[in-house]
């Protein structure tokens, strides 16, 4: 039987290899940007802008492909071999995970670009229905009995972790750094959550499209986009008295880019995010730009907020992850018991 099965195995294998080869053939400079959910619209525009810029400065054509999904899911796909040249994820922890689990980039990736490798920031706000029928003005209103709060699952969604930490930071300050107090607050908050979507986009859809819930905890950019897409006659944004400074970071996945020979263009792609043109575009897609010029131009769109960073709120992502979102962490303790 051996020689025949070998033939069969060989031909099966050959078939697979042929398919593989065919898909690897297309030789043009391709860049794969693996990103999280709410950045779809922004990167679609930015990719055009960058391709023009790259053509103008180097004369080369570059095609940028996009993959979007929950931040954690995207990071794990990169770890499993999704060949991202650059990652633009929701939080530093997810890029840390790629550095730790796959060794695909240096552990000090965050020092390689300005502002901790975050070209734009955002914050966490509350989106309510027009007229604010439930009179929601701050975090405290979310734990009132009967208020339905929509937020995604912090176990899977990067945005949801920002939401969680924003509420946690507020609760901690309010209770005078009493952890038990903050924990009670979070327990009441999540008791009011009727649907826990797996991603930020899913949560927005639930709130906006399906009409579930009284208030959506969301990225500011996501909330502003919802106003734009569905009309400001239907929703209102409420800025809480205190919230978190969300810093979605970007990084070149060194090993992959080296293998593809795309290091230079990958790095340029991320650096260009800090340029005046790109910063202006970021602001138009509702991310808070780093450059003063763009920030001033769009000042009316981004009201002043009182923010704290993850470092101030919980001592950094590694600590926050271990304490709140790991198995048996505070989220597991307060939810569903």
């Amino acid at each position: 039987m051996t020689s025949l099965s070998r033939k069969i195995t060989a031909s099966l294998f050959l078939a697979i290899v042929t398919i593989v080869g065919a898909s690897a053939l297309s030789a043009q400079t391709h860049l794969l940007n693996v990103s999280y959910d709410p950045t779809r619209e922004f990167y679609e525009e930015y990719n055009k802008l960058f391709a023009q810029h790259w053509k103008a400065t180097t004369g080369e054509d570059v095609v940028i492909n996009q993959s979007h999904g929950g931040s954690g899911k995207q990071a794990s796909a990169v770890i499993d071999g999704l060949e991202a040249d650059v990652v633009t994820l929701a939080l530093a922890y997810d890029i840390d995970a790629i550095a730790q689990n796959g060794g695909l980039l240096d552990k000090d990736w965050q020092t390689k670009l300005p502002y901790n490798s975050t070209p734009y920031t955002s914050t966490i706000v509350l989106l309510v229905r027009k007229g604010n029928p439930q009179h929601i003005h701050d975090w405290d209103d979310l734990i009132r009995p009967g208020v339905k709060v929509i937020t995604p699952n912090p176990k899977t969604s990067g945005g949801a972790r920002w939401n969680y930490l924003a509420a946690w930071g507020y609760a901690l300050h309010k209770s005078g750094n009493n952890e038990q107090g903050a924990r009670d607050f979070m327990k009441k908050l999540f008791n009011n959550v009727p649907v826990l979507d797996s991603g930020a986009r899913g949560a927005t859809t639930t709130f906006v499209q399906r009409g579930v819930g009284d208030v959506l905890i969301a990225w500011e950019n996501e909330a502003l986009l919802a106003l734009k897409e569905f009309g400001s006659d239907k929703f209102e944004i409420v800025i809480p008295s205190e919230t978190i400074l969300a810093e979605p970071p970007v990084a070149v996945v060194d090993k992959v880019a080296q293998r593809h020979g795309t290091e230079k263009v990958a790095r340029a792609y991320l650096e260009y995010l800090y340029s005046p043109e790109a910063q202006d575009l970021e602001a138009r897609y509702f991310y808070r730009p780093r450059l003063k010029q763009a920030a001033e131009k769009y000042a009316s769109q981004f009201p002043k907020v009182n923010t704290f960073t993850v470092m101030e709120g919980c001592g950094g992502w590694q600590k926050a992850q271990a304490k709140h979102f790991s198995d048996g962490g505070t989220f597991d303790q307060i939810y569903g018991k």
Partner: protein, 293 residues
């Protein structure tokens, strides 16, 4: 079937008025159930897809991303289905034409993909071909892409549609027996000509039936493909994944427009299946006059 009894049924039992009413009630209940449970979701897909008018509908399905998803779905099906057809024929030939130890084990193994959750199926391939899987490092060294590329999607699709052809063919070929083929062999025909001239004409309807089932599943598979796809727009996004993606982008009309293409494919499948059943007697439908008195 009902011809077993020679006594015309109406001679013994004329349905009484309450029986007729019961019959009508049961039929109405069945219609109501199917209407609410099956037809309404289909209608909803088209209603949502067309809610902004035909113009927008056609614009939605002519977007480059939707078209490339459509092409990928067609490509994947056109690789996965023939592979499973060849497998189905080989397996049912071995199983129905020969006796060997472990045959029932083999039949059980063939059924495994039916009971494995598609998500687990996708994950199984990540375990083998992923960067941290068995073959991952070797594949990477040789710059071969399986997971998060087209081959991975094909593999996952092959897995979920694996038993469809074999399951149609095995009982059919079993029932048919091997007399004709044996006669042909005894008369001196060689193996391939027996297959092409005798077996294939006999099994063609069952084969087509199984192929249709496999094709329809491979067009629509979501869970397994979702795990191995990587969701790269225009490259590794199949039509069902594109539906989810559009849905997540607030492009509800576009999402339902893409979904309507898949629904149309499903309806075409059903029509072809029904035609096969009616013209060939595979999975025969009851004669309509059979029971009615």
């Amino acid at each position: 079937m009902s011809g077993r009894s020679n006594v015309p049924s109406s001679a013994i039992l004329q349905p009484t008025v309450p029986q007729r009413m019961g019959r009508v009630a049961l039929i109405l209940l069945a219609l109501l159930f199917l209407g609410g449970f099956l037809i309404l979701p289909v209608v909803a897909v088209f209603a949502q897809a067309l809610s902004q008018g035909w113009k927008l509908y056609f614009e939605s399905i002519r977007q480059e991303d939707v078209l490339s998803a459509l092409r990928l779905t067609a490509l994947v099906a056109s690789i996965a289905v023939p592979l499973n057809v060849v497998f189905g024929i080989a397996a049912s030939w071995a199983i129905t034409r020969f006796d060997f130890h472990g045959k029932s084990l083999l039949i059980t193994l063939i059924d495994i993909p039916l009971s494995v959750s598609p998500v687990v199926a996708g994950m199984m391939y990540v375990e083998v071909f992923g960067l941290h899987g068995w073959l991952g490092p070797w594949l990477q060294e040789h710059n071969l892409h399986v997971i998060f590329a087209v081959p991975g999607i094909v593999l996952a699709t092959v897995f979920v549609t694996f038993p469809f052809v074999a399951r149609e063919l095995i009982p059919f070929m079993q029932a048919q027996g091997s007399d004709e083929e044996t006669a042909a062999v005894v008369l001196g025909a060689n193996g391939w000509s027996v297959f092409w001239r005798v077996t294939l004409p006999n099994i063609k309807w069952a084969l087509l039936y199984g192929t249709i089932l496999a094709a329809s599943r491979s067009i629509g598979e979501f869970g397994a493909v979702s795990v191995v796809s990587g969701h790269i727009r225009g490259q590794t996004t199949t039509l069902p994944l594109e539906v989810e993606m559009l849905y997540n982008e607030y492009s509800f009309t576009a999402a339902f427009a893409a979904a309507s293409l898949l629904t149309l494919a499903a309806i075409v499948t059903l029509v072809i299946k029904k035609m096969i059943e009616v013209t060939s007697g595979v999975h025969p439908v009851p004669e309509e006059e059979e029971v009615e008195s």
